[in-house]
Every structure is written in C-alpha cells, then in structure tokens.
Amino acid sequence: MTAILTRIQRGNPHPDNPAECGTSGDHLAALESEAVHIIREVVAEFDRPVLLFSGGKDSAVLLHLALRALYPAPLPFPLLHVDTGHNFPEVIAFRDRVVADLGLRLHVAAVQDWIDDGRLTERPDGTRNPLQTVPLLDTINEHRFDAVFGGARRDEDRARAKERIVSLRDAFGGWDPRRQRPELWSLYNGRHTAGEHVRVFPLSNWTELDIWHYIARRDVPIPDIYYAHPREVFARDGMWLTAGEWGGPRNGERIVTKSVRYRTVGDASCTGAVESTAVTIDEVVTEVATSRITERGATRADDRLSEAAMEDRKRDGYF
C-alpha cells in the first residue's frame, strides 16, 4: 500500500504503456480504470462515504484502488470494520498496520459489543457472519454514512451476480432485487432520500483471478495467511478449519498439521483453508487459475446451508 505512495512521480514522463493502463491496455487495466472512475464519482457526489475494510484481499485491493483514485490527495473518508470477534490474528494485525502506516481513520463495530448489551444474541451454531448486519446498519445510521464501499464481486455468488454497481438501500438497509434501478452505461444514479444510503461495489466486474493478478501486478500487500503456511487444522464439512476457541475441534475431530492457504478470510470459526504449497504470488495465481471449485464453495460453510443464503442476508442489509 505504501508502495504507491513512494513510487509516485519520479523521473520523466514515459509514453503510455499499453500493458499498463486504459482500454488501450489489457483487461486488468480496464478494470482498474473502471473502479477508479466509480470511486471518484462517489467521492464527488456523496457527503459521507465509508469504505468497508476487513483486512481481506478484496478490501485490500479496494483500498489500494481508492488511494490511487485520489492520489496525491489523502483518503477523504474513513474505513469501517465490522468485527465478528472470530478473527484470524494475522488479519487484525494487518488491518491495524495498514491503518497506522497510511494514517487512516478506522471505525470498528464489534459484534461482541452488540451481544454484550443484548442487541444481538449468539446463534446456536456459533457462527457470526450473519450477525454482522445489525452492527453494520447501526454504525451507518450513527455516523450518517451515505455511501458504503464494499469489495463484493459478482462472480462470488449468484445473488451477487444480480447486484448493481451503485445499489440503493432503504432505511432498513434492505436490498430489494425486484426493485433495482436501471443502471445505464457508466452513469451511476446515487440519489437517495434521507435515511437511505447506497452500497457501492467498484470490484463488481472482477473475478477472483483478476484480484490475484492485480495483487501481483500492483504489489498490493495482503495478510500472510493467503500464502501457504503450516497450520493446526481439523476437518469439518469437507473443509480444513483452524483449531481455536470457537467451535473446534469437537468430539471425534482430530487436529492435524497441514500446509494450507486461505482463499477468503471471514469468521474464523466457519472459514476453511485449502491445502496448498503456494508461497509466492505467482504460485497462488497458478493455483487459483487451475482450481475447479469456487472460493466460496471451498471456504464458506455458512453459504452451503441454503440455496439462497446470500440473497436472504442481502435482503436483511448484509454487505
């Protein structure tokens, strides 16, 4: 992340490099320009944007794009992390390092606080991904955020595949897939009435592989657990889960040490690792390119519960 702050404006102008930028360049450069355009539109038209930052790879790429979009001006809006409390310590350390290095403002909405004061109750299965919605909406209301940047991608899930880039949320934060606004060309209509807000997804058109290619090209820092490392894990629902204080292992589940890598980093109690030996970015890109299973299929137990798990959560106001 700091790389882009130091690498800038040295030396003489170079003729445009088709491999690097714009539609004259490649697919990745076009995605980058599209995302930068979206971020600038929102900064220009909204009063109080916020960027959801979990420390995961998509939010790291999103933050990187936001910094590029506004460079050399500093980021004019804060970050928000809805913290399940079920974290990978490496990811929280990464989050805090990024915030400190770049001098950013970070709001943390901790699910635990909502449970402690009774606004939320723990679920019987112990997972906390679905519990993020209420702290998210409460924090949006409290700070009167009017545009919320998220790193969701359409290729993640079939409900997300239906999402607009700039997507209106009602006063309850709900998504109504039957009443989405038309979204024409690259003209985004973010007009809303008091109490409503928009969710903005600059990475809509990116695939998982695009994200990894981009991390490689721009040297975007991400937490180490995205690379292969030895870890104590146990098998559940066909995934490797980290042994830890929340939910595991239970009776009969045996802890083993494996070389693993994460493809997503969510609630650690239900986010699985994949077996891997990829320790460099190029090795990860190769693995992702040849994988025959989607990142959510490989790593998210909660999304397997029902056919429309994501749609239902989004209707309630989830990211």
Binding site: P13, H14, H27, L70, R158
Partner: protein, 419 residues
C-alpha cells in the same frame, strides 16, 4: 480491449436465454464443480432430472420459484481466444428496464427466438431496444430447433423475418444461427443435425466478432469528475483534474477548452499514481494538469480546441421510458449527462416508435413504460454534448425523478439541434 467482448442476451420470455448462457458456460468448461453440484441439487429440488442450465444464472428465490429471469445476471468466462462479460437479461416485458441495463454496455446482443413461435412482440421490442442503444453487433439465435426437427425452412423463415425487422430499425448485418440451447447444437460445437447450415457456431461468432474502438479517430472528451487539491506538505499547490477519458486521445501539450464554461488552457501533464504519462486514451482514468487555473471543476468537459462538443440548452433526444408512470409534456426532471446533472423540462414529445409498423408516430400524448420516443428537453443550464449516434460513450444521459431520485429513462442526444 481487443481481448474482451461484452455481450447480452435478449428475446421473449422462455425463449431459452438463460439456458443458452448456461450451455455456453458448460461447454466452455467455465462451471466449477461446486456450482454444478448446486445447480444439480436445485434441479432435483424442483423435480427435474436433466440439469436445468438456466439455474446457473437464475439465482434469485423468486426467479427459481417462477422459472423466469427477473434481473440481469453477470457472468465472466474466457476461452483461449478471448474473455467475455455476459449479461443474461430477462425476457418478460415487465422487466424490460433490466434488459436495457444489461444491453447499455454490450457490444453484442444475442437475440433468441423460439423456433416454434417465430418473432413475437417482445422480440420486436428487444430488437428495438438494441437498435435504440446502438449495440454494435446483433446476432439471431433461432432456438429450440430440436423441437422442430432441425427443419431448415423454419429457420430460413425466421431468419428473413428477423432480417427485415432489423433492417427497418437500422440494425446492420445480423448473423443468424440455428441452435438448441438445451442440447448444445451449434452453441459451442457444430451440430450434425443441421447439415444444411454452413455458418459459424454461436461461439465461433462470439470469438471472431471485431471489438474495441478506434480511439485515435474519436474527438477527445474528458469529463472532469473532481479536482484533486491535496494541500499537503508534499503537494502544497497541486491542482489536478481527475477523470476518465470518455473518448479519443489526450496528449500533453494539447490546447483545450473547458465546456460549458469556456475557459481555455494547455495540458501540461497527465498524472497517474505510477508517474506521469505523455498521452492517455479512451477508458483510462487519469489526472490532468493545466497551465492555467481556469474554472474546470466537476461537470466541465475538456475538449481539444478544434474538436468541440455542442453546448446546448435545448436537446432533441430519444428516450426509452423505464418508469411505470408515463411521461407527459411539461414534466420536470433531472438530466444526468457525464459528470453534470441539470434541471430540465420536457417541453414536447415528438414521436413514438410503433412496434408493429416500426415507424415513428405523430407526437403522442404520453410515453408509456418501455416505449421509445423522441422528446424536446429544455435545460436550466447548458450541457456540452455529442450525439449518441457519433459517440456511444458521450451521447447517453439519464432522466431522473426530482422527487424520489429514481431513474426514469435512458436518453440519447439526437444528432441535430433542437429547433
């Protein structure tokens, strides 16, 4: 991007658009094992036996319950030849606004027709939408040929009727393919059951159709999104105009004018976070530095002195009306064009496309949901515009409801000035 094709599906409800998309994904090995397993489970849950490929994109609860597509689904896949962004659009007339959404960014539209039914009203409506949006390439897929014994005369009849409608709407050369989305005939592999057909498979054509743009030939347009003024110790006096080149090529040293304000200056630099560049082309997001501190904030368009857009306060426009409430002359609206939003009044309706005759009627009393028509619009403040016909990237605008902020219509700047 030479290597990327954005395509959309179109055609009436149940003509097989989602099935075709699923088939394309399946036959290009773009479906991963867990997605396939999920579709298999969903198929069985609905009592099906053969994999229902439409369930790959029909992902909403309501879509699966009703067996129709409601909103656009975007899918991404690649073959060794190129990458594809695919928008699977709904066929139902009620959701035409979503089809307009999916088609607005498409370079190619695959219009499906059920071989048993031939062209229906919704086929004509969608073809009119593709013509309205000037989707550069239109392709006809005559689907469900399996139910017509792959009968050549059936295909030829639909092909020529479609060609005639396309011609009346001004859609240039249509490529037609007889397919069975369900069984895969002529989708990614050539069918042995259509020996009479000599043309390309659907995928052959998708891989071969020319894409990309000749940015060098376009007039340069740079709508300013915002002014970057860091006021930091490192950059105390920096003042850069942030934006994405909408068309053409911008070169350091160009003499430019900011419109509608009219200030003139010279481009002294083009910045990117990786360092300055000497030129930038359509699609690139950059930051432009000027020699003078002219008024060129959000809403201004930079153009080269010798290639200026028109600055107008009256627009002759074409509209595709997307709201339930009809448009009547006298309506007060907002127009969002590029990075500028202005108040406006629709002073007159000038015509309406009749889907049966394919001609424009006399000025109608109103424009109803999903209708395409002409309008005169008076603007509260000037806009710098190009006609959509000359530039699809700068000639489009939104019509927005002042009260609730909803998008009411897709608008195209006409090629002549308002009278």
């Amino acid at each position: 991007m030479a290597g990327l094709l954005r395509l959309t599906t179109a055609g009436s409800v149940d003509d097989g658009k989602s099935t075709l998309v699923g088939r394309l994904l399946q036959d290009t090995q773009s479906i991963l094992v867990d997605q396939l397993a999920a579709v298999d489970r969903a198929t069985r849950a609905r009592g099906g036996v053969e994999l229902d490929l439409a369930l790959l994109t029909d992902g909403l609860r309501a879509e699966r319950e009703q067996g129709i597509t409601i909103d656009v689904a975007y899918r991404y896949f690649a073959t060794p030849t190129r990458k594809f962004v695919l928008a699977d659009c709904p066929g139902h007339v009620q959701y035409t606004r979503n089809t307009v959404t999916g088609a607005s960014t498409a370079e190619l539209a695959v219009v499906l027709v059920d071989a048993r039914n031939g062209l229906v009203e919704q086929t004509r409506r969608h073809l009119a939408v593709m013509a309205f949006l000037r989707v550069p390439h239109v392709m006809l897929a005559v689907n469900k040929m399996d139910l017509m014994d792959f009968d050549e005369p059936t295909f030829r009849r639909i092909e020529s009727e479609f060609a005639a409608v396309a011609r009346s709407l001004g859609v240039p050369d249509v490529v037609s393919v007889p397919v069975s989305a369900l069984h895969g005939d002529n989708v990614a592999t050539r069918s042995v059951r259509t020996s009479w057909y000599r043309g390309p498979t659907l995928l052959d054509h998708l891989e071969a159709v020319p894409t990309g743009r000749e940015a060098v030939a376009e007039p340069m347009r740079f709508p300013v999104q915002l002014v970057l003024r860091p006021r930091t110790a490192e950059h105390p006096d920096y003042r850069g105009l942030a934006g994405q080149i909408a068309s053409g090529v911008l070169v350091v040293g160009d003499d430019v004018i900011a419109l509608p304000s009219g200030g003139r200056s010279t481009v002294t630099g083009i910045d990117t976070p990786d360092g300055p560049v000497l030129r930038a082309t359509a699609g690139q997001s950059v930051t432009v530095l000027l020699a003078d501190e002219i008024d060129a904030g959000r809403g201004e368009v930079l153009a080269r002195l010798e290639q200026q857009p028109r600055v107008v306060t009256e627009l002759a426009a074409d509209l595709c009306w997307l709201a339930d409430r009809p448009l009547r002359p006298g309506a007060r609206v907002l127009i969002k064009h590029g990075t500028r939003t202005v108040r406006a009044i629709v002073t007159a309706l000038t015509g309406r496309l009749d889907l049966h005759t394919l001609h424009h009627t006399e000025p109608p009393a109103s424009l109803e949901l999903n209708e395409i028509g002409g309008a005169l619009i008076r603007l509260a403040e000037p806009l710098a515009v190009d006609s959509y016909a000359t530039d699809r990237h700068t000639g489009g605008f939104l019509v927005i409801d002042i009260a609730d902020g909803n998008t009411l219509a897709a608008g195209l700047v006409g090629s002549r000035d308002a009278a």
